[in-house]
């Protein structure tokens, strides 16, 4: 290896097809680089990140005795790893390379080629000066804890957990609600195949419960996360259900026994379309099949005075425990998969659609419950007054594609609206009117599904609904009056005012209300709309910027079940790759103390968020534990005697960069 002695820098600039070369004069930059002190070789190449591009570097190192490399191309966040690898293959320490970002920060954001070229030259000059100060570094390794945490038990979380468990990994699945299943558990059938949701979901749910490698904690939430990749300590709060899961056999006799003979309180799972008792399971196939007691309404919990018929019937099974308290449990895992899903747009926010005002205006999720055979009406589509509707309007894009609400297309609404059209027509023979802006049927079998529903005679009207109002002033004789759905039929250029018995609002998908808190807790980022941000949309779609934390399902963005499951598989694979490697290599960008210079003032010690700095009482100097240090560099910048330094971000490196940027050669 030739890292000492005379500095011999190799410089490479990438065309990236026309991505860079179309704006920046790469020849000029290469020629300029060749003129800089220390540069002994300067090349341009169409695609530096391709194999031949990388080989070029490795070969030049060997043949030309290069000992520092500068690559001007895309963002180091994308390809730093690639070029470090190339340098290593050339026989040089991988940390002797530095990248210059002339694509994301250059050709893609500037229109004036001349100015973009000047900027590139400035950056190259800075990099050439900086790389001189690079020294060989070694990566340290930390072992990876083999267990995985999956947060959220919708279809995505379920699939990820089962995949990992099948690979022999121990998984803890934490679900906030009393049962796993997520939104899919609420559906009757699923597009595009129209297969029964319960038939495909229930077996997976029971498999979760049965799998020896999965610990299922429902009615639980993560409250704190510490540590980092390979070694997270996670605190989970288990809310009291007042029934011991280990003793309950799931006979549900207690629910029948409850002093409330009928349901009295809004049933969350049915979105308030039915009533439940203070002791309940959210739905018949719930997993675990253990009831929950709702402390807001349970007479025993509220007053202490109840006949406790439930407890009596439970008898020797002895599963009741009214003294249960929230429990906080710490677990250690090496990786985390977030699968917290989505919530639907609140239709009340668009007042002119009359949700919450007219009793016959429903959301799609409510409609899903109505068409569900195990739903509040046993699968009958009926209005609140008990009649079956003769006409139904389905309004697409509610809250989506709208600058005043959510800008994005929610991706699944067109297809689920067609699904509902089909199901309701099948159940009621009603006339169905789907009002859409654009019919989005991308994806396997979706266009075919669209064809099928069109052929069934559903009226498809191209126009966004502009107004919904009652046909007559007041509902007569207790009947719920029809409402008029008004829109421009843009294909015939007429305003249509269609009176219907029932309206279904196809509400869009949006981030969970607490997505921001969850994001903070796991130290990841969100995209502009608030969904969790993937590391790279194409190259790392289930990774986050925090190593060891992966994304699956609709928490990353609106998607359908097939995509959610595919993504869950990918997230599980990423976690497996991490665990099976057994260790992670840490970026050697840790801070270290120059002992001779440390004055022992201790001011750095409280600055470190990871308590990596301690005070060596024997020598009265600070010392840094490299394993704990995450490399933020805060202590480095704060040390009054400048005696803390940071690998890869040495003062000398940064000062030479500043100097390089501002001094014209």
């Amino acid at each position: 290896m030739n890292s000492n002695g005379a500095i011999r820098i190799g410089f490479y600039i990438c065309h990236c097809g026309t991505n860079i070369a179309g704006v920046i004069d790469v020849d000029a930059v290469a020629a300029y680089a060749a003129s800089l002190p220390g540069v002994v070789l300067s090349r341009d190449y169409k695609y530096m990140c391709s194999d031949p591009g990388q080989d070029l570097i490795a070969q030049d190192i060997r043949e030309q005795g290069l000992n520092r490399i500068v690559v001007a191309s895309c963002s180091p966040l994308l390809h730093e790893r690639t070029f470090r690898g190339a340098v290593e293959r050339g026989g040089l320490n991988p940390f002797l390379v530095h990248m210059v970002n002339i694509r994301e920060h250059g050709s893609w954001v500037h229109e004036d080629g001349g100015l973009a070229t000047t900027k590139a030259m400035d950056l190259v000059r800075a990099a050439v000066r900086r790389v001189v100060h690079h020294i060989p570094l070694e990566r340290s390794r930390v072992p990876v804890h083999p267990d995985v945490l999956v947060v959220g038990g919708g279809i995505a979380g379920i699939h990820a957990a089962l995949t990992l468990a099948a690979a022999g990994k121990k998984v803890t699945l934490v679900e906030r609600e009393p049962s796993i299943g997520g939104h899919m558990a609420q559906f009757d059938k699923t597009f595009p195949t129209l297969d029964c949701a319960a038939c495909i979901l229930t077996p997976k749910m029971t498999a979760v419960k049965a799998h020896p490698n999965i610990t299922l904690w429902t009615y639980s939430e993560v409250t704190a996360v510490k540590g980092s990749v390979g070694n997270f300590t996670v605190t989970v709060k288990r809310k009291p259900r007042y029934i011991r899961e280990d003793l309950c056999v799931g006979c549900l006799e207690c629910i029948d026994a409850c002093i409330y003979k009928d349901g009295k309180f809004a049933d969350e799972f049915n979105l308030g379309l039915s009533k439940r008792k203070p002791i309940y399971v959210p739905f018949p196939q719930a997993v675990p099949a253990v009831p929950v007691v709702d402390p807001e309404h349970c007479v025993h919990l509220k007053t202490g005075k109840c006949k406790d018929l439930c407890v009596q019937i439970c008898a020797e099974r002895n599963a009741f425990d009214f003294d249960q308290q929230p429990e906080f449990i710490d677990i250690t895992v090496g990786a985390v998969i977030l699968a917290t899903g989505f919530t639907t747009f609140d239709a009340k926010r668009i007042p002119y659609y009359g949700y919450g005002v007219y009793p016959n205006v429903y959301t799609a999720l409510e409609a899903e419950r109505l068409v569900n055979a195990s739903g509040p009406t046993g699968g009958e589509i009926v209005l609140p007054d008990g009649r079956a509707p003769a006409s139904v309007a389905i309004v697409h894009c509610v809250g989506s594609r709208d600058a005043d609400y959510n800008r994005w297309c929610s991706r699944v609404c067109c297809m689920y609206s067609l699904k509902l059209a089909h199901l309701i027509q099948e159940h009621t023979k009603a006339e169905i009117y789907n009002f859409y802006i654009d019919m989005r049927s991308a994806g396997k079998s979706m266009e075919e599904f669209y064809n099928r529903v069109s052929e069934e005679g559903v009226h498809l009207i191209r126009g966004r609904v502009a107004d919904i109002y009652p046909e007559t002033a007041n509902g007569k004789d207790g009947h719920i009056g029809r409402v008029i759905v008004q829109a421009e039929d843009t294909l015939i250029g007429r305003i249509r005012k269609i009176p219907v018995d029932m309206v279904i609002l196809s509400v869009g998908l949006q981030p969970q209300d607490d997505a921001e808190d969850v994001r903070r807790m796991f130290n990841i980022s969100c995209s502009a709309g608030g969904f969790f941000l993937e590391r790279h949309p194409k190259l790392a779609p289930v990774n986050t910027f925090t190593d060891g934390i992966y994304l699956a399902g609709a928490c990353q963005g609106p998607k359908d079940i097939p995509d959610a499951v595919a993504q869950a598989g990918a997230a599980a694979a990423e976690a497996l790759a991490l665990i099976d490697a057994g260790f992670v290599e840490l970026e050697p960008n840790t801070a270290y103390v120059m002992e001779e210079e440390c004055s022992g003032c201790k001011s750095c010690i409280p600055l470190c968020p990871y308590s990596a700095i301690s005070f060596a009482e024997d020598v009265l100097k600070a010392t840094i534990n490299a394993v704990l240090c995450k490399g933020c560099g805060t202590c480095v910048a704060s040390c009054p005697s400048a005696s803390i330094r940071q690998h890869l971000f040495e003062d000398a490196q940064i000062f030479s960069e500043i100097e390089g940027l501002l001094t014209h050669a």
Partner: protein
Amino acid sequence: MDPHAQASADWRPRIVAFFCNWCTYTAADLAGVSRLKYAPNTRVIRVMCSGRIDPQFVLDAFTRGADGVLIGGCHPGDCHYSEGNMKLLRRVHLLRRLLGDMGIDEQRLRLEWISAAEGEKVKTVVNDMVATLQKLGPLAFPERAAAWDLEMDEFERALAPAAALEEVTHG
């Protein structure tokens, strides 16, 4: 020749930017991926966290001829290392005072919290800062510093006999 010595018609402000790896640098990448267009006046130096930014970096940039320094970090509460950005904020407050004493307009040092999703904000902040600096004109700190050095030299020369005397008395 230093092309920045006078405010000629084609003078363009030079901005040295320090962006943290996790939020603002990523946001700048996002601006690129989204093909947003902004002024080509910034030169970004990547640090892992805005907490790494030493006031010396900023001063050095000004003394070497930067017309402005832009610091970008994660929003409060969002720092990848929990609160490096808050540590930086404290430093920036002190630094502002110092810059004021040095006659450097406070608008020349700008601190912005830009999250990884805010590519658009990179664009608006850079454009806005360029417009501000365009109005303020060149800082030309190296020239000023050279003038100060001259002054100091003369001052020292004037003091020299006295100092020599002092030495004599001491000795």
